[in-house]
Symmetry: C2
Subunit: 291 residues, 2 copies
Amino acid sequence: MMLVSGPSSTKLGGKVAQILGVRNVSVEYKNFPDGESYLRLPEDVRGEDVVLIQTTYPQPDKRVLELLLLIDTLKDLGAKKVRAVVPYMAYARQDSRFREGEAISINTIFKLIEGAGADEFLTVDIHKEFSLKVLRIGAKNIRAAEAIADYLKSMELVEPYVLSPDRGALKIAQAIGERLGAEYGNFEKSRDRISGAITVKGEKVEAEGRDVVIADDLISTGGTIASASKIVKGEGARRVIAVCTHPLLVGEALVKMRQAGVDEVIGTDTIESEVSRITVAQLIARELSKS
Amino acid sequence: MMLVSGPSSTKLGGKVAQILGVRNVSVEYKNFPDGESYLRLPEDVRGEDVVLIQTTYPQPDKRVLELLLLIDTLKDLGAKKVRAVVPYMAYARQDSRFREGEAISINTIFKLIEGAGADEFLTVDIHKEFSLKVLRIGAKNIRAAEAIADYLKSMELVEPYVLSPDRGALKIAQAIGERLGAEYGNFEKSRDRISGAITVKGEKVEAEGRDVVIADDLISTGGTIASASKIVKGEGARRVIAVCTHPLLVGEALVKMRQAGVDEVIGTDTIESEVSRITVAQLIARELSKS
């Protein structure tokens, strides 16, 4: 096995390779003045079982296209097998035709990944697991709840209460809550499909004096978390800790959440950000060593 | 036949549809805060013979991915046939493995276009025509020299001399020169594969008192044109007119060329830019009406 780290996942790729004790090759990379990517494999990959790791944020379009270019190039250069590991899969929220005529973008991208020649696909906390069904190659979704819960354990939380901002993410709150031995539940979120405005509602949350963990698969603009934080702070929560697998943190997301009373924001390194204090390297390495 | 204009080619798409007298549908488009594209076909395409027009500059990665998403979405929505018209094809200069291990990016992208479901492919002045050979679907390269020469005719040039900056583009200078009834030739260009530095050389050019047209398939940073312009201005050229099919005009390209003595820069609308004074709409419409 040989690990190839794409331009967006050099750090995480290095960690996974170290845990597995395999060679790590970083893709040679530059950006041309016109915005095109230049990619080169600096080592021979002929006959190799290659694990390619490349996340797709920030710059989702560039990173997705690089992923496709790298899969095809590895095959063209003679790699025996290419397992594509995409720690954060962009476009996964575009998983259904909400209005007639819309692109179901994640379906197209999975077809392209398969068409480029990937033999297996691995990702972490994809928005909806059913999206993987379009893939005919082996596909696996790793859940980061275990690593997140272990990190939260080390924080010595006071009467922790784990909440997801909507029912869709309840399984995340549940997985974290169970491993943490904490109560868990969910808010109800509604999003206006046209304006994008988010509303979070919930029954009375017993937050008085407790540390509330708001857990979601990703944090984008931080609007959902901010909305939920205001509610629990209003009900007397001692601290609010926002945790997610994928810290996209668009624009002023951190400022917005802090202003809404969030005391800490914690994410994993599926995306390299300033809040990526939890690594998913062990989880990825464990999955890779299974097959 | 129905024309669908992608986000990057709304103007050109409108012109082509008008010439052909067919319905023009503009793709509904927005950019999500995290950088992902949202795409929607606002009209029914079931059973239609669709011509999709989408250029791939600026933002080549975003535009290429949108192209792929649109092809697959059109097919998924029931279009009978999708002809992909890509006026400027990004990544076409990455057409060979110049160093071991490099991505031959244009090959991958063509495979993806085909894999997404395109039934035919049409482009304008692709960097090297041999790149099209990787496509198994019908593929055609339209040459813009005719439209460029017709525009130059209207300029009443004095003893015009058409020069390409290197031997590779000589066929462009030749096609323009022949239609213009003017002398033509080429410089010799060399590019350092590592640093990217460009050198243009040529035998003595008889430019004294003449209008020199420097013609290339594309103008990126303008370095090549600037280098050639200095030579012909040094030999007494009356005016220097830089013409190209694809005006990428990266960064300060226009300033750089003007400082090197270029009097006018003219491009076509394969890319919408401030110098796109020539339209390729008629050429595209003519090709589309053949089949």
